[in-house]
Structure formats: C-alpha cells, structure tokens
Amino acid sequence: MIINKAFKIAVLSTAFLLVLVCLSFARTDHRDYRNSKLDECQDCHSGSGVMSNHGAFFVKEHRLLAQKGGSNCADCHQQSFCTDCHKGGNIDADLTRSLSRRGETMPRTHRSDFISIHSIKAADNPQTCSRCHEANFCSDCHGKTRQKGSMRIKSHRPAGTGSQIYSWNSDHAAEVRRNLQSCESCHPDADVCVKCHSSGKQNPHPRNWRDISKRYKNESNGRTCRKCHITY
C-alpha cells in the first residue's frame, strides 16, 4: 500500500517537473537573425546545448530538421528556398547551379553530364530521386530513347548487333529487386513483366503477399490484380 502510494507520488512529481521544464522552454525565434552569416551562429550556439548544423553535409541532413513539427526553417528562409531545389525554380539566380535539358536549374548534387552519370548516382539510395521527381520524369526520356544503342541495360541486351529485340539473362531478377524504380522509368505499365509473370510460372510477389494483398486489391478496386489475374 505504502509502495503504491510512493509510486503514485513519484510519477506525479515527475510529470509535474516535466511540464514545468517544458513550459519554461521557449524556442528562440530566429527571425531577427535571418541576415546573419552562418559562421556567426556559434556566437550564440556555442555552449547552448544545441549542436551546430548547416555544415558540409547539410544537403543530406536537412530533411530531418525541415520535416519536424514546429520546425523553425521559416524564421530565415522563404518557401521559395525549398521549392527552387525540389520543384525547379531560380528566382534568386543562383550562379552555382546548372541547367537541365529542360531549362530547369538543378540542385548542385547533379554533377557534370548528369545524364551520363545519373544511373550511378541513382543507385546511391534509390529513394533520393523520388523526393523531387515523379515517376514519369524518367519515362519522359527513357520511353523515347530505349532504342538507342548507348542506353544498354545490364539485364537485357540486344539479341544481335543492331537488333531491336532484347534477350533476358539470368541477372534480371536480381537487378529488378535491387532497383525496381528503374524498371518503371521505361515500362510504366510493366507490360513486359506481365508477359511472363502473368502465366503463374514465376511468382513475383513478396513473401508477405498473403497478408497485404487484400488491402492492395481493395484500394485499387482490383485494377492492379486484373493485369495478370483475369478472375479478379
């Protein structure tokens, strides 16, 4: 009985202290410092218990901070600062950024001749591309250039010199599993996949398919299923 009472007092005291600490904590409004230089941040932050940011790897790091509820990015940055990289734009005429083949300014992460290099860079975390680009961004090029010889892809090679028929090799299953998004860039409807996989000989589904298939079927009204299974 006494232990129970002590426990309740301890919990209530902790909760009270916690609320007190939180109420005494006020986030600093940075709007007054928006014109300061980055190297001046440490004048206040040194010893304040806040780790410095906006360092050399901030391009990769900023996502976590910007997506926090109550984040204070807007104290210094306008929304155009985000959209100019993520959605294409250049109102502040940033001279360090290059133009894409569509005349859009690209973030600095896009190195020289990015059209040649992008397949290597896209492998470094395949989800990075989709943070800014819709899937049809890829098919816009790949859908039109698939017959060009320089666009060879490891898992499907031309059947002969100059041939427009492609032969599959055994690598394709492993390649597909590693980077399925790249398949979507040329085959948005997966028509080539369905040709073989709809026969039922090769099951393409993940291991937990039995658990998750019902939800997919319901949300797509069976449209996705009917691409292979005519009875759905």
Binding site: L18, V19, F25, D39, G47, G49, V50, M51, A56, L64, Q67, K68, G69, G70, Q78, S80, T83, K87, G88, G89, N90, I91, D92, A93, L95, T96, S98, L99, R102, G103, E104, R111, S112, D113, I115, S116, I117, S119, I120, A123, D124, N125, P126, R131, E134, A135, S150, R152, R177, R178, Q181, E184, C193, P204, H205, P206, D211, I212, Y216, T224
Partner: protein, 403 residues
C-alpha cells in the same frame, strides 16, 4: 488561360496594400531571365524566356501576424513557337501566425507541407497547434499539386492529408509521430506512419532517428538511426545507419513485386581549422543485397584566404555495384565592389556497368552586378565537354528587381 490567371493572382497581391491601410509589400522580387540550353532529346539548342515573381505582403494587421506570400513563374520557349506560354504557381497562401494567442499558426492556400510521413504541395490548409505545454499538433490537407514539365498538373481527386503530434519532452528532445495519406483519383494510393526522435543529452552528443512505415506494404519504407558528436570544439563526427525498402502507389503494378532492401552505413567528420578554413570527409558503405555493394568516399575543403574570396574544392570516389565514379569539383567566388564573380569546374571520370564510360568536364563562370539595391544583372555561361557534346554551351542572363 491558366498562366494569365496565375499572373493576375500574383499581380493582385501587389495591389492588396492599396485596400489595406496598414499593409506593406515588404519584399517584391522579379527575375526576368533569358536562357539558352541543350535539349538532348530533341537534339537541338533551345532559347527560353522566364519571368519569376515573388511577393510578400506583410503587416496586413497591426500586430504583423497576418501575411500573404506568393511565388510563380511564366515561361515561353522561344525556339519552339508552337509551344504555348506555360506557368507554375509554386505557392500563394495566407499565413496567420499566432492566430489564437501563441497556440495556433495557420496557412491557407497553395503551400508546401512537410512531415516525416508525407510531403508535397497542396491547395488546402495547414495548421500548427503549438505550445500546448510540451505537445504540438500539425494538421494538413488539400488537393495535391504535382509539378510536371513546367506546369502544375493533378486532378481534383489527387489529394494529400496528414497530421503529426510532437512532444518536446525536455529541452532539445523532440519526439514526433506523423500520419499521412495520399489519394490519386480519389483512391488511397499511399498511407504512411512516421516516427521521429532527436535528443541532445549533452551539448557534445546528438542522437536521432526516423522510421517511416508503409501500411499497405506492411514494411518500413525508410529507417534511419544516427549519432552526432563534437568531442572537440571544432570537430564534428557523425555515424549513421540508413535502410530503405522501395514501395509504390497501390494502383501501380509495381506494388506487387518483391524487392530488396537498400542499406547504407556512413561516417563523416567535419573540422574547422579556423573561421576561414574548413574540411570534411565521408565514407559510406552501400549494400544492395548480399551480392552487391559499393564504397563511396568524399572529401571537401572550404577556404577564405583573403577577404571576399571563397574557394570550395571536393572530391568523390565511388566504386562497386552500378558503376565507378571519380569526380573533382572546384569553384570560387570573389567580390569586387558591386560585382560578385563566380567560376568553377567539374571533372568526372565514370564507368557505368556494361554501358557508357568516359570523362565529363563542365566549366562555368558567372557575374552578379548590383547597379543599386533595387536592380542587379546576372550572367552565367557554361561549357560542357562530355559523351554527348564536344562543346555544349548553355547559360542565362537575368535582370533582378528587389523592392
């Protein structure tokens, strides 16, 4: 028609002060740009004119809580007369900070919304219910605006909704749970739950993480755990583990396929020799499955040897699955009176798996000349020597007006 409507909306914003005695167009930015660039697909050089307009109407009320922000662009490809005038409205929203005491921030209109579960541009509403003791709640929803090929697209059935609950339990500790739903043509195409945490138990240590769970695929779409340390005043170290598992919209045929997870373990170090000299280094080990991996090294250096001169150099080396890359980048900036002169170069040596290989060079230079605080002119030119072009020239000239 749509572009005209866009421009009318932005121009109307400029007129708001005339009907509101206290209002003030605090910042009006216009950028008129003439671009020339190489379109690889059509195999031709293109010329294009773009007009950007950004308007911030502030002090609509006495306390300065009510503001309107707008940003848009109209463009016309001059070298293709058949192409119509196009345009994008990036955002146009009413911002009402501290709408109810210090507990409510509101944004209504076209705005960018951001959460661990879901992000995007919506025509709708964003609310941040804050300072409820240690708790805050954000809510957002609206039509999903998709930017595609210089326009904004999306049907009435495309939508994003979401919310997050965050808890600042003690100073510098943040825990947040978020939930988001994406609709495509009224079908639910994505549903995600995000969990974020970050704590700085000591001023030298920060531990953080994120998990994003896809409720359709019943798997973690992304997972990140990291720790940042500052053992010395000028040295910052970081270690991270990241894992992702690609998932697709429910209506996409790709949602039914089995995929492999991607894993990345990385360590970084940043050191500030003095206020004017900084260096950084990074190593990442990437795993695609048991048979495929890659190593990535990066090193960077920033120097300000004399006043008004900044030099940046970086080197990246990647080897392993998907290809090899060895790339050097250098650029510098020097300010002389009213002019800022920038120049740089990229040199990349790459080997894609089985297909293209070679070197790519990019040389660029630019100048920003400030005639007055109101008007400046910008010029950028670039030459590309690579697989496609012996000399691929592109660039732009711009007139900037900041009022």
């Amino acid at each position: 028609m749509r572009v005209k409507r866009l421009l009318v909306m932005l121009m109307a914003l400029v007129l708001v002060p005339l009907v509101s005695h206290a209002a003030d167009v605090k910042l009006f930015t216009s950028s008129t740009q003439m671009l020339w660039y190489q379109d690889l697909l059509s195999d031709e050089g293109k010329r294009e004119v773009q007009e950007y307009l950004r308007v911030n109407v502030t002090k609509l009320d006495k306390e300065g809580k009510l503001n309107i922000y707008g940003y848009g662009r109209a463009n016309k490809v001059l070298s293709s007369p058949s192409e119509d005038l196009q345009g994008r409205l990036y955002y146009l929203y009413v911002d009402y900070r501290d709408a109810f005491k210090e507990h409510l921030d509101l944004r209504a209109g076209r705005t960018y919304v951001n959460s661990a579960a879901l992000s995007g541009t919506v025509d709708g509403l964003y609310a941040d219910v804050k300072n409820l003791g240690p708790v805050g709640v954000t809510l957002f929803g609206g039509r999903h605006v998709i930017f595609d090929d210089k326009r904004d697209v999306g049907t009435r059935g495309d939508a994003l909704t979401g919310m997050s609950v965050y808890l600042d339990t003690v100073k510098n500790t943040h825990v947040e749970v978020s939930y988001g739903r994406k609709y495509g043509d009224t079908d639910v195409t994505r549903e995600s739950v995000g969990l974020d945490f970050s704590t700085t138990p000591h001023q030298m240590v920060n531990v953080y993480g994120r998990m994003k769970y896809d409720t359709f695929a019943e798997t973690y779409n992304e997972m990140l755990f990291g720790a940042k340390m500052a053992p010395l005043k000028d040295l910052t170290l970081r270690g991270e583990y990241y894992r992702s598992y690609p998932t697709f919209d429910s209506v996409s045929i790709y949602s039914i396929f089995s995929v492999e997870k991607y894993e990345e373990k990385s360590i970084t170090a940043e050191y500030e020799f003095s206020k004017n000299y900084r260096a950084s280094v990074k190593y990442a080990k990437e795993n695609f499955d048991s048979d495929a991996d890659a190593d990535v090294f990066e090193i960077g250096f920033v120097a300000k040897p004399i006043k008004d001169l900044t030099l940046n150099a970086s080197y990246e080396k990647r080897s392993g699955y998907a290809g090899q890359l060895s790339g050097l980048r250098f650029y510098g900036e020097y300010k002389i009176s009213k002019a800022a002169i920038l120049a740089g170069m990229d040199y990349d040596d790459f080997r894609r798996e089985i297909s293209r290989e070679g070197t790519a060079k990019k040389f660029w230079a630019g100048v920003n000349y400030e005639f007055s605080k109101l008007i400046s002119a910008v010029l950028r030119v670039e030459d590309n020597v690579n697989f496609t072009y012996d000399n691929g020239y592109q660039g732009y000239v711009a007139v900037q007006i900041n009022y």
